[in-house]
């Protein structure tokens, strides 16, 4: 299964952190730092873990997973995720991810759930995300609008 998905920028600032098994915040922090600092020599404290990363502009996409996933397939999955982000934000950049904390999590949740891959087509992902957000905006008619 996929253990964690981390997106960070080239300065080591995390932009998206999602663990699929509970990890204390301190441990998450430690892991993120060790990935950033010794990118090539990561010593895993998650047992039996593998790590695949890919750079898109200023962002590093890091997937941590175990032996039941295929390394190259995960690379493809990363592409799916990035494509979905690109379609949702039309020409995604780091700032989109910074300012859309919730939506990025929603997008990711349509691709991976509980560490399992549930969708591999970016257009299906975008469809599901849009549906989810459309419903919420239609619902919003009977709630007070703030600001």
């Amino acid at each position: 299964m996929i253990r964690a998905v981390i997106v960070m920028n080239d300065k080591g600032k995390p932009r998206l952190v999602k663990f699929y098994e509970f990890q204390p915040v301190e441990k998450q922090q430690e892991l993120i730092r060790s990935i950033y600092e010794e990118f090539y020599w990561v010593v895993f404290f998650l047992q039996d873990a593998r790590l695949v990363y890919k750079t898109y502009a200023t962002l590093y996409f890091v997937f941590i997973f175990d032996t039941s996933e295929n390394e190259l397939a995960i690379l493809d999955l990363m592409q799916v995720f990035v494509e979905a982000l690109d379609k949702c934000f039309s020409n995604v950049c780091e700032l989109n991810i910074v300012f859309n904390f919730n939506k990025v999590h929603t997008i990711l949740a349509e691709i991976i759930l509980g560490g399992q891959v549930i969708e591999t087509s970016s257009s299906e992902v975008v469809k599901a995300v849009e549906e989810s957000y459309r419903c919420s905006s239609s619902n919003s008619s009977f709630t007070p609008v703030v600001n």
């Binding site: 299964m1 600032k13 995390p14 932009r15 998206l16 952190v17 999602k18 699929y20 098994e21 509970f22 204390p24 915040v25 301190e26 998450q28 922090q29 090539y40 020599w41 990561v42 010593v43 895993f44 047992q47 039996d48 873990a49 593998r50 032996t67 039941s68 295929n70 390394e71 190259l72 397939a73 690379l75 493809d76 910074v98 300012f99 904390f101 919730n102 999590h105 929603t106 949740a109 759930l113 509980g114 560490g115 399992q116 891959v117 549930i118 969708e119 591999t120 299906e124 599901a128 549906e131 989810s132 419903c135 919420s136 619902n139 919003s140 709630t143 007070p144 703030v146 600001n147």
Partner: protein, 963 residues
Amino acid sequence: MSGGSSLMDSIFQRSLEDLIKSVRLHLPGGEPTVISKALEEIRREIRSTDLTTKAEALQKLTYLHSLHHADMSWAAFHAVELSSSAFLPHKRAAYLAASISFRPSTDVLLLLTNQLRKDLNSTNHLEGSLALECLSVICTPDLARDLTPDLFTMLGSSKNLVRKKAIATSLRVFSQYSDAVRVCFKRLVENLESGDVQTVSATVGVFCELALKEPRAYMPLAPEFYRILVDSRNNWVLIKVLKVFAKLAALEPRLAKKVVEPICEHMRRSGAKSLVFECIRTILSSLSEYESAVKLAVAKVREFLVDDDQNLRYLGLQALSLVDLKHLWAVLENKEVVIRSLSDADPNIKLEALQLVMAMVSEDNVTEICRVLITYALKADPEFCNEILGFILSACSRNVYEVIIDFDWYVSLLGEISRIPHCKKGEEIENQLTDIGMRVEDVRPELVHVGRNLLIDPALLGNPFIHRILCGAAWVSGEYVQFSTNPLELMEALLQPRTNLLPPSIRAVYIQSAFKVLTFCLNVAFLPNEAAYSSSSCPINEYSASPSFAGHESLTDCEQDEFLNLRVLSQSVKAPSVKNGGDTAVNHVKTSASLPLRNDILTQKSADKMFTLVKTALAPLVGSHEVEIHERVCNILGLLELTQNEMTGCFSREKGNFETEELKAYETIKMMRNAFSEEIGPVAVSARDRVPIPEGLVLEENLHNLETICGDVQFPISSSFFLGRPHSGERDGVSFFNRPIIEVSESSNESTLLTEHRKRHGLYYLPSDKKEVVSCEYPPPNDPKVQDDITDDAEDLVKLTEQSLVRKKKPSQAKPRPVVLKLDEGDEISVAAEKPESKDDMVSGAVRELLFGSDAIPPSTQINSSDKLSSKRSGKVSEVNENVGNVRKSEHRTPSSRKSKHHCHGKERESRSSEKNIELREENGQSNKQKSGHRHGRHKARQRADGIANVVSQTPVIPDFLL
């Protein structure tokens, strides 16, 4: 809080976006202030009765928790509260907060149960999705138990979107609550036949996870998986199915035969690298008996290896490492690529290649491979340099130095490695130096020589990384001082002023070694008189006490001016040594070859000097706060006190007074010497287990109190010690290291270093009454062509592996391999059998019951289950035991690394390498020395697998699914 301020909060609340902006715009270093201010706001806002305010506050908090690691455990209840909102964005925010921040111990977790159930059954599938997402992360046994019926309903949902999410969630629920399997399993299996690809993919994914833990239970589903393997065109599904078959095929040979062809077909036809790689991995790891399939896989591996994409190159190397023991030809065919990969830009590829190269090491090529690797190490960056050194050390010491024939070479290689600037393997080298000293008797002279070269170099003391090596060198030099060419020089080295740079524990070893050297010198000084005396009258016992005496090959022997004197002396020595019998047979050869020279070791003048040296160097340490140092210094000074007076007399006696026996000091020295000459042998790892536990001793007692007691105790090896003169030390070290290692004779260089040092610290040295000539009996293993091009080396290695990997006749060894002391069962690893996790057992137990047993067996009757069931169980237990033997050994350590730490660079590799070790290790138990170790070990492993398979085919329960 008043309602008024709550309203103000709602109106002037900062949104998440405002918060993110303010965090981004803070002044340098101001981030903590901004965040703590924001948290203050959030604490106020989150109590608002207005759900929108609350939701916004919770979102901000989740953001700060997730990306800035703020604590949000206090807000758990607010998340639960908000989740009941009918408004979807609120619900989303609440569930996101819960899934990110809840831990299994969160106390309000159970309050969420009802809301989750309500949302799972909601008509709005979006709410159901949100609840599933949350449940898949925070699921606990309680939640799993309560929500299993709802999950069951959702597994049959008509909406694919919901169903695949429910399937993915079920994995987590199963792992928490095994009875859920009984309820949901059938529906899960039905989903394998779904028309929706994503649903099938999710289901196969779940089965893949389950089967990895306990494959046997899923054997009955093999026909389903086979159908998917043949029919599906979706790479994701195929990859997962292949992973399942990799496990199942290992258990059932008939199944392997059935799937191998479809897998090869995929490998040939598919354009997707991921699928091809999975096929390769499956075949190489689980279906390696099928020659043609392996051939095809290796051909595909080759395509990977020469690809431009570094990922593919890396995976290609990884695939090769799966294969290397079973089909050596696969590695051989690709060895050029492997060796070229050592200089790849990608560190992971280099590492992987290094592993493969070290796997090729055999006793025929170990010298050459090590030589080339060391030239690589000298040029590599510090990290990779240490990787290489670590690999060399572990490969050479593998299975009690199995591959080493020429120990003299290996010991000088260790000396060489110690001088590599980036070397941080001090501990390992120390262990090996002492271990080899104890195990291999023949190598001791060379060992002492290497140790002396290390000790004598003042510059090395400045480098904290090699302190441990020096410690080992000091120990061997003291323990085997009889092989030393010049004990006085050794003494100077052990007591040189710069030893104050050493940590106290190592300094104590130095002092102890100095003690041994002193005892030895004094003993020898007394001896010649007696020898001369007794050789003419009666037999002497003293020789057997110091058989080593004859082993002196003083280099000064060769000097012309002393030649005449020596001849006279040699006669007196030869006479007694003949009487000694077989014990010292080895030494005899040396005695006759060169001429021992006692009087040069200790003349009266030099003895005085030595006494002065010891006193000057050690007297200040009497006041040391380190007990180890203090005690040893007192010992050595005490001995000195005792003997010094009579010693003077001893020398004056030389003119013909032979009443040595009456000297008390002599008796003392003799006793000391006797004590030290007793051999220290290697100790079996399991030796400690054989010591009976004293009564009243409670082992494994919780020792956490110890921390409070020892809290302020400083452990000896600390860098703080180094603070004294860090700069000068560093500089010395560096200046030495920067010196090119092109030395025609390394000894001459050292001598100049020593003379330089002498000049500076003349006070501490004896006057040199003879020329410093040190022979270099063995050429350094590392040819001084350091500056060569890296490609040259690669070609070199390619060539040499070409020669040595092809198993030709063994070249006749120049020297016979010396005896390596092994312990009968001591070098075996004691295996602590551990039962595997019981939780997985429970899941697979439940699955087993569903798939094998009649559907009628309800969970409650499980205890009185039929014979059929119990026979199955016992079959499984035996298999588990076998596996335990196989796997749990991975914790083993070789005796040489008893104290060694784990070098952990990625679990994957570690476990793999230890697996290799296991096979070798097991073999050692059976036969003492096997040349073709690898193959044999593999063969055995296969037999064992067959054995398991036989068990399977014998049990009547598993039907013939595919035939």
